[in-house]
Amino acid sequence: MSGYLTGVLVVLAFNVMAAYAVYLPLAAGQLNLGIAGFMAIGAYASAFLTNEYGWPMWAAIPFGSALAGLMGVLIGIPVLRTHGIYLAMATFALGQVISAVFLNLEVVGGAAGYPVSDYATPGVVWAAAAGVVVLMLYVSRTRFALCLTAVKSDPTVADLLGVSVRGMQVAAFALGAAVAGFGGGLYAHHYNFVEAQHFNVLLSVFTVLYVLFGGTQTVWGPLVGAAFFTLVPEVLRASDQWRYAVFAAFIILFMAVRPQGLVTASLLRIFRRRRVTP
């Protein structure tokens, strides 16, 4: 495999993980505009454990992920008291604060960045991303996913049917944070370098954009969205600036025509029925 292709597919793997980190809370109706902050937590925590304590990567990255998830619970409980715009803004502010904190944390290099001593090969990154996808497919087949959908589409009715709306929301938020932390940890170990500036608002925003483009009604949407966002510009061989401009214009027009995203539940249902009764 050429170095170029490997590079693109590694980026795809990171984008897929980020997409599911955004998707989980979104499936419960929460727009998390601060996902990059949780990636940063996973990245820095795992890099710190590898560098300073000599932890093996396979222990450090899951630990970083768990820490991001834990932060998701701790921060999610107060922040999820807010709804709608307020929640979106709270997560947005959170992302900014987290990345600014790392920017000022001298113990992990501050603004100069933080080199990481252990290396995750492309194979490891792909396997991890595949693992995340499989996990998400599994989760989407459970009652938990059904409860998230119920909480999203009608919290009042979900509550009256006995669903713990707050519990589901915090769980979705924290699991999304954990997935983000996992991707962040791998990112640090694959590129052998972390800098706080990478985990900025635009990273969060782009992720949300392609997840919504893919569609949030089904578990396939984020995968399709991430693949589209990563691969199509490569195929077009567009320059970076044109890539973002064209992508943004495309998303705006696409969402105006099909606000529910590319992959929807009824689309899949039609597809499935055709397969069963040819």
Binding site: V163, T264, S266
Partner: protein, 253 residues
């Protein structure tokens, strides 16, 4: 003791306006009762108080002998009380089956149940149960349809099936017949009668007095948040207080 739902001394104000005043009534177990009254009499507010969407200012609510007055709304379903809304609140982009599965939540909310990949297991018992409940109501053909694609009358009845699957023994229905055509109304009536046959207690808010007459054994009449009469419909409609408050009853015969 045989009251499925008992309300005593219930009061509720919104911004100083008293929506419900010292309201007391009982719904006997297994009977179908209508809650009627002019617009703004507080009927839907009673539903909201019993289901816990609003907290009460004063009074006591018991369901099947259990005091639910200060119980969080989420826990009330386990006492057997469920409700419908005036506008149907199903998840419209999901299939009928998935909507019904949410109804089972109260009986499948352990961590193990939440993480069981039921969708990967053909004929999982939850799906079997939901399909059976649908078939029993003559709606079996709709199981895999998307809710938004279904006629209004069918959606109303799917809402009922969902409540039954939640194990509701006391079901509060907010204007179930509103917006239905005659054949849909008949189907709904049969459905409600079948529920009553199974011993489910129904409390129905409804404007259509023919419909009320055809399914309810007794009625409670509200006006300005107060009970002004109760008893069999034929008696209540002769009550002068009711005639005065509720002019609409005169014309409908």
């Amino acid at each position: 003791m045989s009251a499925a739902l008992s309300i005593s001394g219930l009061s509720k104000s919104f911004a100083g306006v008293r929506a419900i005043r010292d309201l007391s009534f009982e719904v006997p177990k297994g009977r179908t009762t209508a809650l009627i009254g002019p617009n703004g009499a507080g009927k839907t507010t009673v539903f909201n108080l019993v289901s816990g969407v609003y907290g009460v200012d004063a009074g006591r609510i018991t369901v099947n002998g259990q005091d639910v007055t200060h119980m969080p709304s989420r826990r009330r379903i386990s006492t057997g009380v469920a409700r419908s809304f005036q506008n149907i609140r199903l998840m419209s982009h999901l299939s009928v089956l998935e909507n019904l599965l949410v109804g089972q939540h109260v009986r499948a909310s352990s961590l193990g149940a939440l993480l069981t990949p039921y969708r990967l297991i053909p004929n999982h018992r939850w799906k079997r149960e939901a399909r059976a409940a649908l078939a029993e109501s003559g709606l079996g053909a709709y199981a895999d349809e998307t809710v938004s694609a279904l006629p209004y009358g069918v959606r109303k009845r799917i809402d009922l099936v969902r409540a039954t699957l939640a194990g509701a023994s006391v079901l509060m229905l907010d204007e179930p017949a509103a917006g239905l055509n005659p054949s849909e109304t008949n189907a709904l009536r049969d459905h409600l009668n079948a529920l009553a046959q199974k011993g489910i207690t129904l409390l129905v808010v409804e404007h259509d007095m023919h419909f009320v007459d055809s399914i309810c054994e007794s009625v409670v009449v509200l006006n300005f948040g107060e009970k002004i009469a109760e008893g069999p419909l034929s008696e209540v409609r002769r009550d002068p207080k009711v005639r005065e408050a509720y002019i609409g009853m005169d014309g409908e015969d």
